[in-house]
Symmetry: C2
Subunit: 302 residues, 2 copies
Amino acid sequence: MELSWLEDFLTLSNTLNFSRAAELRNLTQPTFSRRIRNLENWLGVTLVDRGTFPASLTAEGRSFRKAAEETVHALYREREQCLQMAGGEASFQSFVTLHTIAVSFFPHWLHTLEGKLGPLRTRMTCATMNDCVENLVSGASNFMLFYAHPSAPLRLDPVQYPSLVVGKERLIPVSAPGRGRKPRHPLLGGGTKPTPYLRYARHTFITRLIDTIIAAQPKPPLLEVRHENALTLSLKVMTMEGHGLTWLPETSIKAELQAGSLVLAGPSEWSLAMEIRAYRSVQRGAREKERIWSLLHESAVD
Amino acid sequence: MELSWLEDFLTLSNTLNFSRAAELRNLTQPTFSRRIRNLENWLGVTLVDRGTFPASLTAEGRSFRKAAEETVHALYREREQCLQMAGGEASFQSFVTLHTIAVSFFPHWLHTLEGKLGPLRTRMTCATMNDCVENLVSGASNFMLFYAHPSAPLRLDPVQYPSLVVGKERLIPVSAPGRGRKPRHPLLGGGTKPTPYLRYARHTFITRLIDTIIAAQPKPPLLEVRHENALTLSLKVMTMEGHGLTWLPETSIKAELQAGSLVLAGPSEWSLAMEIRAYRSVQRGAREKERIWSLLHESAVD
DNA sequence: GCCGATGATGCAGATTTTGCATAGGGCATG
DNA sequence: CATGCCCTATGCAAAATCTGCATCATCGGC
């Protein structure tokens, strides 16, 4: 019996869809199916009724779900506990977030945190949206930092996983400068020639946000996707090199905007203001974790 | 992370000896070592201090042991629960015992049980001594039936695993009949020629008992091992066929003794009276399980 | 009736696990 | 100090398992 089977089952019990769950777990659908079946075989009972649409949990499945949840959490919590013990007093606090936030927001934020709490030993995991959530839910990380915007809510129970606003961010369209500090690749007014566009990889969180921005406008801009990439940092360099236009978190390009190596590529309606939120599990943790959280509470931006 | 790693670790934390624990878990020592290391890698901490003698648990190990124990039990209990649910009202009660007891004692005993409780749906697992204990401890079976004798106590905490005497048994030396209903292969008085002896497989529980019998005598008998076998039933047939002398549980050969196809092969000092005990975990279980246990309490032999 | 979506299955390749043989380290004994 | 014993770790090849791809079977919706 594998821990990952339990996690698979939990994911499935949320989506009630094998293919979707498989994707969330970074597995192919056949593999996922088989792993669920492995779990069922080990138990000796059927957990999921595949005959209905959408699939549904059997009575045993509903009952086992609770136990699986507790078991998974208990194991990760215990692992964290062991690490804490091994690390001694100055134990590591674990964070998980997007690459972008890890680069643009976290380093500075950690400074302000440490300014109030004294030096912290931290561990950071960078991951995709789904993996961030998985990481938090499983207990593998104490805290998650994530963008928050009403147009793209996370699948996360706000009671089980309370959050606090810890910062603000704006997603703004930028380009390398052309003549006279004007954007070389303007979002609008480029005539009939489409503007080269550097896009975030599909199925990522930021793409969902950018799609929201575009969908909110009366006229879609004339863009031609020239490049696709999941790393903000990479897109930023591509943009500075003049490959095209992209949206970037404002904080991550403050210096470049001032220096003029990047310029705003469109009016403010094409920007998106969002929050940066810190999430935690309601499960109580080590003293240090609680200390951090209560500080965040005090200093929360609202 | 594998459930079996947790079980490995629990076994190790009991024996504090990799080789011994590996044997108990039916693994080779290298494999066992690696699995413990896998667990440690997953946790990110060292659980066992190999530097001491005997090996000892680290602080993290001691802490994790509790969690591991709970997790293992929770999972097996939950599995049992699921099976119960799936089986409906008339769920199966699971027993584990030695092959011998399953054949000699259980069938009759179950009748008396059912006489009082009504028909039961039962499941029986036959296993070796170690596996029987594993089975009970892990929660894979509700009840264990086992021989009990002071000379060979089980490694089982009597508080965690209370037991009741449910029957009596005698291990007696028997042989096929020779002339005039005398044993063809007598235990004693065979002159200088050794008596052919059919022995139980080494490392089994019954062998430990028989060794006790022999060790308790002033003079060791003159025996020559002709055959070794872990199955009572098989030894019984071998004995009836006249291959030699062996010790068998009296109940399993009642009919044969009456019919004269087997005869006592030695005086009564060479027999061993023992109890048959039913064990359970203190963990509360399903209603049916509790019903059975309370009946056993009433009807316990003492 | 056809289409898109969903879950199951056959199969080959890749990964992981296992046991055997053996190395290396510590401890007691002569 | 040498020797032998007991313990755990490691190299390696065979075996078992897991995974992904391609494909099939089924079902609901238009």
